[in-house]
Amino acid sequence: MDAVTRLTPNGESLPKIGAGAAIGHHGELLQGVFEGPAGRLHRGLVTLPLASSRAKATFTCTARRVLTVRPHDKIKAGLAARKTLDHLGVVEGGVLNIESNIPVGHGYGSSTADVVAAVRAVAAAHTARLQPSRISRLAVAAEQASDAIAFDEHAVLFAQREGVVLEDFGGSLPPLLLVGFKPTGGLPIDTLHLPPARYKSAEIQQFRVLRALIAHAVRYQDPKNLGRAATASALLNQRHLPKPHLERVIEIAEGAGACGVQVAHSGSLLGIIFDPAGTNFRQRAESVAASVQRGGFCDVEFHQINDDGARW
C-alpha cells in the first residue's frame, strides 16, 4: 500500500501512485442496538469478513484539483477519496481506479470495500497510513452507514452510523467454514433506502447476551457460541428484513450439527456456520449445501474464514 514515486530516465518524477485494498464480507454475525462506554445506546454490528472477496483501488495524484473516478458509478468511493484528501489537507486531486470481485447489492459489503480501498489508496499516494478507526470514520462520512471491514479480520462491535468501535473483542473470529447461499430471485438491496430497524426493549436487552456470546467465542475461539449468537440475531432480524424460509434453514443447520445460521441483516445472503475442527465437518457441510440447493436456494458457495492455513 506504499506510495510509489517513479522517475523517468531523465530523473523527472512521475505522478505519485498509491494502492489500497479491502476485503468484503458475508453480512453480519450480529446486528442490533448496544450500550456504548458512556451507557448510551448505539446501533452496532459484528461483520463476518470474507477475505476471498476483495476490492482494489489505485490513486494517481495529479496537480489539478479535479478528482476523476473510474468506473464513474463508484460515487461513494469518489466521495471517500475527496474526504480523505480533505483530511490529509491536500488540495490537489487525482485519478481513482476501482476494481472489485465483490457482487453488488446482496450484503457482501461491496460499496464499503470500494470506499475503504479508496481511502487506503489515497492515503498511500500521500505516504500516509491511516488507523482503521480513522478509515471507518471517513467511510461513514462518505456513505452514511458503513461496516467494520477497515478492521479486516479483527473482531469488533462497530457502530455503523458513527464509525466507532463499541467493543474490541480482542482478536479475530475463530476459524469457520461457511456454506453461503442466496434465495432464488433475490434482488439487490440498497441498504441506505431501508428504514432503520426499531427494536423493542426486550430485543435491545437480548442483544446484550448475544454480544457476550460473541465476546466469549472470540476469547475462547469457540465457533459454537458464535453460531448461537448469529442464529439468534438472524431470528431477531426477521421482524425487520425477513429472510424467506429462515426457519427451514435453521432446521437444516441443526440437523447437520452446524454451529448456527448467519444472515446479511440488510442484504439477501444466508450462511450456515461449521466448526472446521468438528468431526466429519466436510461431509456435513456438503450435505447441507445439497439440502439448501434442493430447498430452492442458489449460488451455494463454501467460504473458509480465518482458515489458519487448513485446506478445504
Binding site: 451507557g39 426493549s201 426486550a202 436487552q205 437480548q206 446484550r208 447476551v209 448475544l210 454480544r211 457476550a212 456470546l213 465476546a215 466469549h216 467465542a217 475462547y220 469457540d222 459454537k224 457460541n225 448461537r228 449468537a229 439468534a232
Partner: protein
C-alpha cells in the same frame, strides 16, 4: 442531592463471580436490586412517567428500597417506602434516613409481612399525592428486562450455561435472567428457590423465619412456565449455609443467597459436567446480629441442627408440608396446571 459517579452504581450492580465448585459459579451481588431499580427509573423517565421533583413510592423492606433510596438521592427525587414493622431493623432504617428516604411502617398482625396492608397504604398515599411514580417492582416488566445485564455477565464468564439457580421474590432476577439465557441455550434448567409458607408455588401463606424469601402475593413477573424445578428451603439450612459460605469461601451473603447456594451446590453435584450458575442477591451485613451471631442463633428452638444434604423429593404439592428442604419437578408448567390440574385429576379418579 448525593453526588454519585454512574460507575459507582455499575460497580454495585455488578456481581463478584465466585467459583464454589469446579462446575458451580456464584454471582454474588453487593446490591442486586440496583439493576432493576435503575432500569425501571430510566425507562419511566424516557416514557415521561417520571419527571424531576416527583415522589417515588414503593412497598419494600429490602434491597429494592435501598436501591431506590440511592437513586432517588442521586437524582433528586423524593422517596416514600412502605414496609411492615416486622421487616424493618434500626440499622437499615438509619441508612434509609441518611439517604433522605421516608419510611412508613404498617403494623404486621400476622407476622408474614402483610403485603396487602402495605399495598392499601401505598394506594392511600398515591391518592393523596398524584405527583407520584410507583415502580411496581412485582409487576413491572422492566424488572425482568433489567436482568439481561446479569445474563450478559454470566455468559461472558461461563460461555454456555446449563443450569440457573435463584431465589424468587419479585420474580425479576430468576425469570428475567432465565428468559434471556434460554433464548440461546434452550436446554437451560431453571431452578427456583423459595421457602415454606409462601404462596408462589402453591403453598399456603404464613409467618416465615427466613426473611427475604416467601410471598403472600403473586408477582406478575413470575413466569411459572419457565421453571423446571422448585426447592423450598427452611430457615435453618439457609442459616447454616450462610455461615458455611463465610467460613469456607469468605463469602459474606445473607440467608436468601445461602438458600440459593445450597440448592446450587446440590444441582452441581447431581449434574456432573454441567455448568451451574447461582444468583446471590444480598450481602450479609443486615444479618450480622442474627444469622451470623451465635447468641441469637442459640436462642432459636432446635438450633443447632445438621442441615440436610439432600432435599426431600415431592411427587405432588403438599400444602403445609415443611421438611427442611423439599424439591418438586415443576416441569415448566403453569401454577394453574400444577395446583388445579392435580385437584381435577383427583376428582376424575374418584
Amino acid at each position: 442531592m448525593v453526588a454519585l459517579d454512574p460507575d459507582y452504581f455499575r460497580a454495585l450492580e455488578t456481581p463478584r463471580m465466585a467459583a464454589l465448585a469446579p462446575n458451580l459459579i456464584a454471582a454474588a451481588f453487593p446490591l442486586m436490586k440496583l439493576m432493576p431499580a435503575r432500569y425501571i427509573l430510566d425507562r419511566a423517565v424516557a416514557e415521561g412517567a417520571l419527571e424531576a421533583g416527583m415522589r417515588i413510592v414503593e412497598t419494600t423492606s429490602g434491597t429494592f428500597g435501598m436501591a431506590l433510596a440511592l437513586l432517588s438521592a442521586a437524582r433528586g427525587y423524593r422517596l416514600t417506602l412502605v414496609s411492615a414493622s416486622s421487616l424493618v431493623d434500626a440499622k437499615y432504617q438509619a441508612r434509609l434516613d441518611g439517604l433522605g428516604a421516608q419510611m412508613i411502617v404498617t403494623e404486621d398482625q400476622a407476622g408474614n409481612g402483610d403485603q396487602l396492608e402495605r399495598l392499601q397504604r401505598l394506594d392511600h398515599i398515591r391518592r393523596e399525592d398524584p405527583n407520584c411514580f410507583w415502580p411496581r417492582q412485582y409487576d413491572n416488566s422492566g424488572n425482568a428486562l433489567a436482568y439481561a445485564r446479569l445474563a450478559e455477565q454470566l455468559v461472558r464468564t461461563l460461555g454456555e450455561i446449563d443450569c440457573l439457580v435463584g431465589c424468587v421474590g419479585s420474580g425479576g432476577s430468576l425469570c428475567g435472567t432465565g428468559t434471556f439465557l434460554r433464548t440461546v441455550f434452550p436446554h437451560l434448567i431453571v431452578i427456583a428457590v423459595d421457602t415454606h409458607r409462601s404462596i408462589l408455588f402453591g403453598q399456603p401463606a404464613g409467618k416465615r423465619l427466613l426473611r427475604g424469601l416467601g410471598n403472600s402475593i403473586l408477582p406478575g413477573n413470575l413466569r411459572h412456565d419457565l421453571i423446571d424445578e422448585v426447592h423450598w428451603v427452611g430457615a435453618y439450612p439457609a442459616f447454616s449455609e450462610a455461615r458455611r459460605l463465610l467460613r469456607e469461601h469468605g463469602i459474606f451473603q445473607g440467608p436468601t443467597s445461602a438458600a440459593a447456594a445450597l440448592v446450587g451446590r446440590w444441582a452441581a453435584s447431581t449434574r456432573p459436567g454441567a455448568r451451574v450458575a447461582v444468583i446471590m442477591p444480598d450481602e450479609g451485613h443486615r444479618y450480622a446480629e442474627t444469622v451470623f451471631d451465635d447468641t441469637w442463633l442459640g436462642s432459636l428452638p432446635g438450633w443447632p441442627c445438621s442441615p440436610p444434604s439432600e432435599p426431600r423429593e415431592l411427587t405432588i404439592i403438599e400444602p403445609g408440608s415443611e421438611a427442611d428442604w423439599m424439591r418438586f419437578k415443576w416441569a415448566r408448567r403453569s401454577l394453574d396446571q400444577i395446583v388445579h390440574g392435580e385437584f381435577k385429576n383427583e376428582g376424575r379418579s374418584h
